[in-house]
Amino acid sequence: MPASVFRMRDVSKVYRVGDLEVVALREVSLELHAGEFVVLLGPSGSGKSTLLNLLGGLDTPTSGEVDYLDHDLSAGGDEALTRFRREHVGFVFQFYNLIPSLTAAENVALVTDIARNPMDPHEALAIVGLSERAEHFPAQLSGGEQQRVAIARAIAKRPDVLLCDEPTGALDVETGRLVLEALDRVNRELGTITAVITHNASIAAMGNRVIRLSSGRIVDIAANATRLRASELSW
């Protein structure tokens, strides 16, 4: 059993929306292990994104503890969380979140500029198969290409964990497959812990483990005996 890198214990998250309290997570406990590829499944409002945001240091829990190795993320202030994100986390979003005024290579360089031990931006783009498109601006790239630039930007700092929120949500099947291949490759070659949120149950076969959420609780954790390659998926 590989060592656990993330540990969540009895984590709850309550949002206040006007006069309403919305419980996004209810006493969730979870561990993520080194080199693991995890798929988080669940309907809208099940708490997947909240879980990912807590793991990535974008948010802090209302109660419970989130630890990354010996860092206590639940107690971290803005500065500590920023440093954590800067040094350890790579994010990939559904809508790519590229900076439109920067080329592909520059979007990656934006992160390598502030990272401690980054790879060359062109190396990162090569990993996702976009060496040819390095000097293109986001508006000149297809959705799948933009998402792969986002992945290159996320991995270029050699993060310890890659957090992906619906990375294929805005893409067609073929393009989505290319993106998933890139994630798969990063996980296998660099050993980066990868957590992918998706609505798409077919993607579950890619992961070491599949975590299902519903109404803010983990309802099932299943381990896959064998992981499928992205190219082997069908949906």
Partner: protein, 790 residues
């Protein structure tokens, strides 16, 4: 209660949500309307009051002074073609002894019209009554003089009239269109305490000055359409045998000249300042609304899907601009009107005439509001049209990513020089070059307003220093009633407490250069003078040539002559000799029309001996009071100007009026800088909040992402500051050119402290507004900002 439609409710809530920007825009518009209301209502009031006072009080448009003519000459004058009305009168200089005033005061006594209706230059009686017919000791005092010396009907003053010491009883206080602005001979600023106009019954005055059946002054009104030069020429011809010193029209009438120059300067300001503000205001509205329409694309699509027309949607956004602009107009009118009253009160202390031009408030407030509406429409139209033209289906989808490309800057190698963060900044600015340039221009305008205003103030201070430290170094200028021989100088020099006395010979002359003719004063000064010198604008003293004359720059230009040319000088007194003099040099003096010769040259021109018309004295401060008392009692002394008193009056005038203008302009410049930077940063935050949230998620610290956001504003401010200096220098030169009159020319003074101070003041406003936006960035909810696009 009016029920607001849903679109109007949306409008009010949008305005509330955008309140920071709404306030910033409204303040800039308010600045424009404030300056418009302030300057225009002052201008309208002054111009209307002037016109009304001139008309109702029958201000003459032709004036002539002479030595003495018997009354029958008036018949010849009355026959001059083109005259509608003509009056002869007495106008004499008098030395006054006012209770409570140590120094001698000077004055002019003018005879009252014989016309029971008041005649020309009818007096406006403010207090008391008219002097009794035939009375020899009752006078009316000009209001300016009465107020400055706290004189009321019933008070007595003493005057040296025709060499006799006489008590004068003030029976009333009055104003005349001829003396709205009363400037004594040799004075640069009105000193109403030491110079005043009095009116007396014609018979009484004739008797006091042995002028029975004679006159020494004429005023007249020309028929509409009559040729003034022809009338003036005829008048000169008739009066020449009687010692006429040259007829002149309103252009050369001191009070009219000053008041009209003031009104003209005011009109310039009333056009320039509000235009600048409203242009910036319209630009800010343009930015805010364009961004709002962009943010509300899907709402616009939805409204269209519901069946709202493009015109209705355009009107909706136009209304929002109107709400903002009218808010600004309300602030501008609300603050402008009281400022205008205060300013008019201030004018009332220098210009004595009834401010009776009617109530201009409603008209000015209406015009100001109309200007605000125009600014709102100009600013809102592009955004409103964009909203009207959005196709409904397309507008419900999110906007495609903005298209960027590497611009020409980068092809020049900027790319290699900049990190990605720097490139973001450059590309974002380069993507909207017009917005960038307009913002830079706005900052530059804010700086230039300060530079110009400070330069004006520095210019006035320089002028004062130049006049009172370099040129005018005497303590007292004594003016003789008529030319005297050198013994008069010895008499002054012999007075106890007089340290030094320097004679001068002043001649009223007409300068002929080709077809050009100008009235003016010829100053005959001592060689190598110690007290009164001629100096260039740089402060260096210039030796008056033994023969030939020195002209001020403006005068030489208006006469169309330069050094080496010759001009004809025609004396307007004595035997009225006429001589050709060589222009030995042109002096760069800020004081308008003046011509200098050596006193010997002046004496030669007048074909007289060693004669003076006055003296500059340096006195022992401890003996001042005694010297004043002695001068008061000397019949041959027509008056004495005190350097210190003039300086004090000047200081006071500047501190009050210019102090107000400086403060107002500083506030205006701050409002513009704040409005531009705050709005610019807020819009950048709104446009790029998503981007900045992404950066924060990627591990950028607050400081780093705020730096990216504010970097653009810093670049705009950084480019605007030096440009503002250039613009400010240009604006200063323009205003100097606009505001220069025949009387004086504003010197160009540009100090490093001014330039640095103007930049610092605007930079402070920029930093403060940038800080306000950075505070918002700090409190931005990262997760919410990331979801904003979904």
């Amino acid at each position: 209660m009016v029920r607001l439609g849903p679109l109007d409710l949306k409008l009010l809530r949008d305005a509330w949500n955008l309140r920071g920007q709404v306030i910033a825009c409204a303040l800039v518009v308010a600045g424009g309307i404030n300056s418009f209301v302030l300057l225009s209502s002052v201008n309208r009031s002054l111009a209307a009051s002037q016109a009304l006072f001139y008309e109702t009080h029958r201000f003459a448009d032709v004036f002539a002074d002479l030595v003495r003519a018997p009354e029958p000459v008036a018949r010849a004058l009355a026959q001059i073609p083109g005259l509608a009305a003509m009056e002869t009168r007495l106008s004499v200089r008098v030395n006054l002894d006012v209770p409570g005033l140590a120094e001698p005061a000077r004055g002019r006594i003018v005879s009252l019209s014989r016309d029971p209706a008041g005649g020309l230059n009818t007096l406006h009686l403010r207090k008391g009554r008219m002097p009794a017919p035939g009375s020899q000791d009752e006078v009316l005092a000009a209001e300016a003089f009465a107020v400055a010396n706290r004189l009321a009907p019933g008070d007595a003053i003493r005057g040296v009239m025709n060499g006799r010491y006489q008590s004068l009883k003030v029976v009333g206080v009055a104003n005349s269109p001829e003396f709205i602005y009363a400037l004594g001979p040799g004075q640069l600023v009105p000193d109403n305490q030491r110079y005043g106009v009095l009116w007396m019954d014609r018979k009484g005055l004739e008797k006091a000055y042995d002028m029975e059946g004679a006159f020494n002054s004429v005023t007249a009104r020309a028929q509409p359409g009559a040729s003034l030069p022809a009338v003036l020429g005829e008048m000169d011809r008739v009066l020449a045998p009687w010692g006429g010193v040259g007829a002149y029209d309103r252009e050369d009438q001191i009070s009219h000249r000053f008041l009209s120059d003031e009104i003209a300067q005011n009109r310039t300001m009333a056009r320039v300042t509000p235009t600048i503000f409203l242009a910036v205001g319209a630009f800010l509205l343009y930015m805010v609304l364009t961004r709002l329409v962009q943010l509300q694309r899907s709402q616009v699509g939805l409204l269209k899907a519901f069946g709202y027309s493009g015109a209705e949607i355009a009107l909706h956004y136009l209304k929002l601009a109107l709400v903002i602009s009218l808010l600004g107009a309300a602030i501008g009118v609300g603050t402008g009107l009281p400022f205008a009253s205060a300013m008019l009160d201030l004018y009332g202390e220098y210009y004595y005439f009834p401010m009776a031009g009617g109530d201009q408030r409603a008209a000015v407030a209406g015009a100001g509001t109309a200007l605000a509406v125009i600014a709102a429409i100009a600013g809102a139209i592009p955004a409103a049209l964009r909203a009207a033209r959005l196709p409904p289906a397309e507008s419900m989808r999110p906007e495609p990513p903005a298209v960027f490309h590497a611009g020409w800057l980068e092809r020049w190698g900027l790319r290699r020089a900049l990190r990605p963060a720097g490139r973001m900044l450059v590309r974002n600015l380069a993507r909207r070059p017009l917005r960038f340039l307009a913002s830079v221009a706005g900052i530059a305008i804010a700086v230039s307003l300060l530079v110009m205003m400070t330069a004006m103030l520095d210019g006035i201070r320089y002028l004062m220093d130049w006049q009172f430290k370099v040129v005018q170094r005497e303590d007292v200028q004594v003016v003789l009633a008529e030319p005297r021989s050198r013994e008069a100088l010895h008499a002054f020099a012999a007075m106890r407490g007089v340290v030094q006395a320097e004679p001068f010979r002043i001649v009223a002359v007409r300068f002929h250069a080709g077809h050009r003719l100008k009235r003016g004063i010829l100053y005959g000064l001592e060689d190598s003078p110690a007290l009164r010198r001629v100096a260039g604008e740089d402060g260096r003293a210039i030796e008056v040539p033994p023969d030939g004359l020195l002209l001020t720059g403006i005068f030489a230009r208006d006469l169309g002559v330069r050094a080496g040319d010759t001009i004809e000088v025609e004396a307007m007194e004595g035997k009225r000799p006429r001589r050709t003099l060589r222009v030995a040099g042109v002096v760069d003096e800020p004081i308008g029309y003046a011509a200098y010769v050596s006193r010997a040259t002046a004496n030669r021109l007048m074909e007289e001996g060693d004669v003076l018309t006055g003296a500059y004295l340096r006195v022992d401060a401890r003996e001042r009071e005694r010297i004043f008392a002695a001068l008061k009692a000397m019949p041959q002394v027509a008056g004495a100007n005190l350097r210190e008193a003039t300086l004090e009056r000047f200081d006071e005038m500047i501190e009050r009026s210019v102090g107000i203008m400086i403060t107002v302009n500083l506030v205006f410049a701050w409002i513009i800088a704040f409005g531009l930077v705050y709005n610019g940063a807020r819009i950048a935050l709104s446009e790029r909040g998503y981007e900045l949230a992404t950066l924060r998620v990627l591990g950028f610290t607050q400081r780093e992402s705020a730096g990216l956001l504010l970097g653009e504003q810093a670049a705009i401010t950084g480019a605007g500051l030096p440009l503002g200096l250039a613009l400010g220098i240009g604006l200063t030169l323009y205003f100097i050119w606009m505001l220069s009159t025949q009387m004086w020319r504003m010197p160009y003074v540009m100090t490093g402290a001014n330039l640095v101070g103007a930049m610092a003041a605007v930079a402070v406003a920029a930093v403060a507004s940038g800080g306000a936006v950075a505070w918002r960035l700090r409190h931005m909810d990262l997760v919410a900002a990331l979801k904003a696009r979904e």
